[in-house]
């Protein structure tokens, strides 16, 4: 399978990438690691006429301690997130979730920013950063702005990023020793989750997000509210799908997904408590 023809430019900075996308408009797409975009282009489900390669913008690949949060450059690869000692110490849930993305070859190329900007509800890192209360920094022609993860995902593969904006940084609050767990239910190694759960808990505080339980990654706020009000894990998990809108596909019916979400949220919170 070969993508439809397109023109190609390589950007050496975020500013250059923004200038190029402003010039070429809606038919242009940013190419980071390419592990979400290229499969779509090979199936011709996406046919951009211009690819702007941002994969060489090395100053957007970093993991830094920024006090209360860890700042991760958007072009940081999954493998670098997975193996970061700083993330293992301060945001172990994210490092662990990154180790579940695809396989080693995919993690050598795919980037955290690419995964988030792609906004696939079946991907692991959008939901994980959502559970952690991350903030995304985006840059456009008029400067930068911050978008809370909870406000970022608008629909299937649709985010709050404007066409001329680029995701530059993911800010993830330090977990400060909170319990955490990541559940990924799939039938075969390397598959996307049929349902996944990213969760952390510190006493009455918690964050729970669901993978593949709707058209966007889902923050299970009803579960966290119940935990805050003193509900048992088993009772809180019964509310796993209260904020979700699961769809049926070849892998699972909506009813089965609803069942899985309750079981997996219960397991994740038991392991986090």
């Amino acid at each position: 399978m070969i993508p439809a023809a397109f023109d190609y430019k390589r950007a050496s900075s975020a500013a250059e990438a923004i200038a190029l996308v402003s010039e070429y408009g809606d038919d242009a797409k940013f190419l980071a690691g390419g592990h979400s975009l290229l499969p779509l282009m090979k199936l011709r489900l996406a046919q951009p006429t211009m690819l702007i390669d941002i994969g060489r913008i090395t100053d957007l690949s970093y993991i830094r301690d920024a006090g209360n949060h860890i700042a991760i450059g958007a072009l940081t690869r999954h493998m670098d997130v997975e193996t970061s000692a700083m993330l293992a110490e301060h945001v172990p849930l994210l490092a662990h979730a990154a180790s579940h993305v695809g396989d080693a070859q995919v993690r050598h190329r795919g980037t955290i920013g690419g995964s988030i900007a792609h906004a696939d509800p079946a991907s692991d890192l959008p939901a994980t950063t959502l559970a952690l209360g991350a903030t995304y920094v985006v840059q456009g022609p008029n400067g930068t702005r911050e978008i809370a993860a909870a406000d970022f995902y608008l629909g299937f593969l649709e985010s709050a990023l404007a066409a001329d904006e680029i995701l530059t940084e993911i800010r993830v609050p330090k977990m400060n020793g909170a319990g955490w767990n990541f559940q990924k239910f799939n039938r075969r190694a390397q598959d996307w989750a049929i349902v996944g759960v990213a969760a952390w808990r510190r006493g009455s505080e918690s964050g729970v997000a669901l993978v593949n339980m709707g058209s966007t990654p889902v923050l299970a706020t009803s579960v966290s509210t119940a935990i805050a009000q003193g509900a048992s894990v088993a009772d809180a998990a019964k509310l796993a799908s209260a904020d979700a809108d699961p769809q049926a596909d070849n892998n699972a019916s909506a009813e089965y997904r609803t069942h899985l979400a309750e079981v997996l949220v219960r397991r994740a919170l038991d392991a986090s408590s």
Partner: protein, 180 residues
């Protein structure tokens, strides 16, 4: 990298389409630098197979699932059906053809041979390249770590047991020779 209007590529397998964007790339493959003109949509696997004639790297599923097209980009295993040739511009690529030097196989190839780590052999170039990358990152893996590390490579002869055995044998052979 520069854009040229006229077709100057050697070994192109089809005539250019009017308005085609052609990009000049320079890629070091198995230690030799190649300068070629490619369409931006050319996949790295097609570049090494069709333009460079290195057909050891196989195309299996063509959907970044099976790993038959695994080669090394800057020393790390990647699926070359999901990388554009232009993304390899200025980079180092190593294919299965680079492993045998002066008639002597790479220790991983020897381990696959001695442990019957292949049946039909189609997945083998990808398995070997993925396994070398795995040991580069984790020189002394457990059996579980080998199985997890090779989750991106499918063998339809169901020969995983001997493949895992081969990788573990290569790792322990390297540990023995390293301790001498």
């Amino acid at each position: 990298m520069s854009h040229v209007n006229e077709l100057t590529a050697r070994g192109r397998t089809h005539p250019p389409i009017e308005g085609d964007c052609i990009v000049q790339i320079s890629v070091t493959v198995n230690g030799t630098t190649h300068d070629n003109d490619v369409e931006p949509r050319t996949l790295l696997v097609h570049y090494v197979r069709e333009q460079l004639g290195l057909t050891g790297t196989n195309v299996g599923c063509d959907t970044s699932s099976c790993g038959a097209c695994t080669l090394h980009l800057n020393g790390e295993a990647v699926k070359s059906c999901t990388v554009l040739a232009v993304q390899a511009d200025g980079q180092q690529v190593a294919t299965i053809e680079s492993l045998e030097v002066d008639g002597i196989m790479h220790p991983m190839q020897t381990a696959f041979m001695e442990n019957h780590g292949l049946q039909c052999g189609f997945c083998t170039p990808g398995m070997v390249m993925a396994s070398i990358s795995l040991l580069n990152e984790n020189p002394n893996p457990s059996e579980d770590q080998v199985r997890l590390g090779l989750e991106g490579n499918l063998c339809r002869c169901t020969g995983y047991h001997n493949i895992v055995k081969s990788v573990l044998a290569c790792a322990s052979a390297a540990a023995v020779s390293g301790s001498k």
